[in-house]
């Protein structure tokens, strides 16, 4: 049986019909079978999505490949959502559970170019010239997490200087331990500023500015 119900597929088809510009996603894998235990789950998700829309394309790529270097992918499995050629929007681990919604919304945003953000927040974001790296630690069973992931990813869509990662904490326990994740969502910006919980856009932006 597929992962998605008939109703879910119907809903997603309608969502994907809004896409005007093809969305390309790199699926980063590794030969290390232990590390790639979850890769088949990601492949399943990819199969379901590509069956629903011709506008979404996935390409599997090894983490050590030359081509991938420009995107500085740290771990696999990962998804790199290409944003006008930039690879600054990433998912480390399987975007399952509540994070599946984040992936869908990201795809629709990238495909339509319609990114809903407060005007003031948007114009401040556009002006950021420093490099920003946002890591959002989540679990798939956390209903509060997609809000934190989506804001980080939307910020990255607006400004290529911003890199935003979703990191699935169960899959990448070493990374989660390194960043002292004991509650999700936990957001770490430029290694210096961190917070727990989902903040609204404007407060999220304040945290980014604090990190500069």
């Amino acid at each position: 049986m597929g992962l998605l119900s008939k109703e879910d597929k119907e809903y997603l088809k309608n969502e994907f019909d809004k896409i005007k510009k093809d969305v390309s996603i790199l699926f980063v894998t590794t030969d290390d079978e232990k590390k790639c235990e979850q890769c088949d789950n990601v492949r399943q998700i990819i199969d379901e999505l590509t069956a629903l829309s011709k506008s979404i394309s996935f390409r599997e790529i090894d983490i050590n490949s030359e081509e991938l270097k420009q995107y500085s992918v740290e771990m696999a499995p990962a998804m790199v959502l290409l944003n006008n050629g930039n690879g600054n929007i990433k998912y480390y681990g399987v975007p399952s559970g509540y994070e599946f919604s984040s992936l869908i919304d990201d795809i629709v945003d990238l495909g339509t170019g319609e990114i809903e953000l407060d005007d003031e927040v948007r114009s401040e974001l556009e002006g950021i010239e420093d490099k920003i790296h946002i890591r959002v630690f989540v679990t798939p069973t956390c209903p509060y997490c997609p809000a934190a992931v989506r804001i980080a990813h939307k910020f990255a869509m607006i400004n290529p200087n911003i890199k935003a990662d979703m990191i699935e904490s169960y899959e990448f326990t070493e990374m989660a331990d390194k960043y002292k994740v004991q509650g999700v969502p936990r957001v770490v910006i430029n290694e210096t500023v961190s917070f727990e919980g989902a903040l609204p856009e404007n407060e999220y932006l304040v945290k980014i500015k604090e990190s500069l």
């Binding site: 992962l3 509540y98 919304d105 069973t141 209903p143 004991q182 509650g183």
Partner: protein, 323 residues
């Protein structure tokens, strides 16, 4: 592997509704079903996800109709689907305040205002925070109020659960999938959870139940190391080792956005037996109101009653206006 989709229906940007429901938990969604089936133009505003607090519950076993139990998020999305089937508009936003002056009420959102003839407050409640030294410091850094969110982060750890009611025991049973041991701390002489839950937790070898202990501090340098408790009878103090703490000590109603004109009792909204608040046309349903039992089953009952009475209210004012 489960894939949850948050089906955000883009509603036409209407700013005038017959009824606005604040909160998309079981109470609000049930009211939405009743109002929409009565063919009143209904908007439901939810801040986070459909299902409210129930959506953070791993499994609900005491809601009838699901003999094998049902996952909280699943129940939430089924209720949402049902409300949408009858044309309830649902938006995801946070309500800043409501304006109750005048016959037409206003619901104020961050970027717009919505007018309605009737409002149902179904904004629910959130877990009550523990207020002792150390609790703020470790909030989100070892103290959690959501076992489904954070449980697996405490794999093979020795944890403490503070609380003794249904939530504490249910979530404890869920956490045993991950953690090494659980010590329950409560200031009462016994567990207040349902008998079936007590039976299940007492069977577990790696669970220790302690009673009559009041938590006085949470201790640790970089991470939680222990909990200090004080015996409620003798006053004797003791330190319980802990690598993580889950807290289930009741709830705080979500009423911050309500104006002072709405009568509250201990923070909860006061209603009469028709679920009317003290202001004409404003109703309250579910965990946010003064009541004795806060469960999905009672929230659904509230939602139906508030929805039904809001329908009567709307029929009445429309009749007068047309009249």
């Amino acid at each position: 592997m489960q894939l949850n989709i948050n089906k955000k229906k883009k509603t036409e940007e209407s700013s005038r509704y017959d009824a606005v429901i604040i909160g998309g938990g079981p109470a609000g969604l049930t009211s939405a079903i009743y109002l929409s089936r009565a063919r009143f133009k209904t908007l439901l505003i939810e801040e986070m996800i459909p299902g409210g607090q129930a959506a953070t519950s791993d499994m609900l076993e005491n809601y009838p109709g699901f003999p094998g139990g049902i996952e909280g998020p699943k129940l939430g999305s089924l209720m949402e689907e049902q409300a949408k089937r009858f044309d309830t508009d649902i938006i995801y936003d946070s309500v800043k305040s409501i304006d109750t002056d005048g016959d037409v009420k206003k619901v104020i959102l961050p970027k717009r205002e919505i007018e309605a003839d009737t409002i149902i407050i179904a904004s629910g409640a959130k877990p009550r925070k523990l207020n002792v030294p150390g609790a703020d410091k470790f909030d989100g850094k070892g103290i959690s109020y959501c076992a489904t969110c954070d449980g697996a982060l405490f794999k093979d750890k020795n944890i403490v659960i503070i609380g003794c009611g249904n939530s504490a025991v249910e979530e404890g049973l869920f956490l045993l999938r991950f953690v090494k041991s659980i010590t329950f701390i409560q200031d009462l002489p016994n567990l207040t959870a349902e008998a079936i839950l007590k039976e299940r937790i007492k069977e577990k070898e790696n669970v220790k139940l302690t009673f009559n202990n009041k938590v006085i501090s949470i201790n640790g340098e970089d991470s939680i190391e222990s909990v200090t408790v004080k015996k409620t009878d003798t006053g004797e103090e003791k330190t319980v080792p802990a690598e993580g703490i889950f807290i289930y000590i009741g709830f705080t109603p979500n009423t911050e956005f309500l104006p002072g004109t709405i009568d509250l009792e201990k923070g909860y909204v006061k209603t009469d037996d028709k679920l009317r608040t003290n202001i004409d046309g404003i109703y309250a349903a579910g965990d946010v109101r003064v009541k004795t039992l806060r469960q999905v089953a009672t929230a659904v009952g509230d939602g139906a009653l508030a929805g039904f009475n809001a329908v009567k209210y709307l029929e009445n004012i429309k009749e007068v206006n047309n009249g």
